[in-house]
């Protein structure tokens, strides 16, 4: 990455985006505030922390866990989280027998309401194609080594259905409260590309 003279060295896409935005604003199709609002929402307010809170509660409250696995969309509504779109949220639970991992092979469908914006690698064609063909190997590249006896299930997201992984609760976290547990939950663990 060059650092010299960025002022005059913006990528052409930046200029294109600026031109498009200025036209849309002039034509009353958009306001700069609306764009700022979206960025702030996905960058800050909706982040992986929403999902982490959901996971922590599921670990602590068996009845909530049942509701979450039965109907993810309804269960996250208890937190006031709603789908960024109209899609359904399905939560899949990791166990010693089954490890779940989420992908969108077509584009980058992602449970925005609970995980914020997708990480860059989630959109990468290599991840999107390889995790389906050789999930165990891809997970190893993420540093996730699973026993041979653990089955891996890959969930392909779509416009209609988004998946989130409920990771296994780490050992040694007995006695921790919801907020402390939530702080342990990483974004990647809810995609299935990390263990806790």
């Amino acid at each position: 990455m060059t650092t010299d003279d960025h002022e005059h060295d913006l990528p052409p896409q930046a200029l294109r985006a600026e031109a498009l935005e200025s036209l849309l604003i002039e034509r009353g199709l958009l306001t700069a505030d609306a764009v700022d609002e979206v960025i702030a929402t996905y960058n800050e307010r909706v982040g992986p922390m929403n999902g982490a809170r959901v996971v922590a509660r599921a670990w602590l409250d068996p009845a909530f866990r049942e509701r979450l696995l039965a109907d993810g969309t309804a269960a996250i509504a208890e937190f006031g989280f709603e789908g960024g779109q109209t899609e359904k949220l399905v939560v899949v639970e990791n166990t010693p027998e089954v490890h779940n991992v989420v992908v969108c092979t077509l584009c980058s469908c992602y449970p925005w309401a609970v995980l914020g914006l997708p990480p860059r690698w989630y959109k990468d064609p290599a991840y999107r194609s390889r995790v389906v063909r050789e999930p165990r190997r891809v997970l190893e590249e993420f540093g996730v080594r699973l026993p041979a006896s653990t089955r891996i299930r890959v969930w392909d997201s779509s416009a209609e259905v988004r998946y989130m992984v409920l990771p296994q609760r780490p050992v040694g976290t007995e006695g921790l409260g919801e907020a402390e547990l939530a702080a342990r939950v990483t974004r990647d663990s809810m995609i299935g590309t990390a263990l806790l």
């Binding site: 498009l20 979206v38 779109q85 990483t186």
Partner: protein, 120 residues
């Protein structure tokens, strides 16, 4: 963003991929702007999100392994296509505006900052 994800890999873990956690969401500010534009216009009903998504899938399918993958380049093209198809912003109008912006004197104040970060 909390640093909690960084614990996913132990420091110096040889298995840690180049695609690490803790990366910034957008690699450059313009990427945030185009994402924000698409979401805001879909929310306002300027077009349907599914319509945009279908264009995005088409655009992503044009990628071949010989070229670097630039997700937001495809995203921007998809957005331009939807707007052009709907008669909202023609290619001609966009080209004219681009030309006008490119002829600005150097040293003007760019609106979008330059804090590009590439953690890869």
């Amino acid at each position: 963003m909390s640093g909690a994800h960084d614990e996913a890999f132990a420091p110096g873990d040889a298995a840690a991929p180049p695609m690490q956690n803790g990366e910034v969401v957008f690699e450059a500010p313009w990427q945030g702007r185009v994402f924000g534009m698409a979401r805001a216009m879909a929310a306002a009903g300027v077009f349907e999100w599914d319509e945009f998504r279908a264009r995005l899938i088409d655009e992503l399918a044009t990628w071949t392994p010989e070229q670097p993958f630039a997700y937001y380049d495809h995203f921007l093209h998809a957005l331009e296509r939807v707007l052009s198809e709907r008669g909202l912003v023609s290619e001609t109008a966009l080209a004219a505006r681009l030309d006008a912006l490119a002829r600005r004197p150097p040293g003007h104040d760019h609106a979008h900052g330059h804090d590009q970060a590439d953690r890869r």
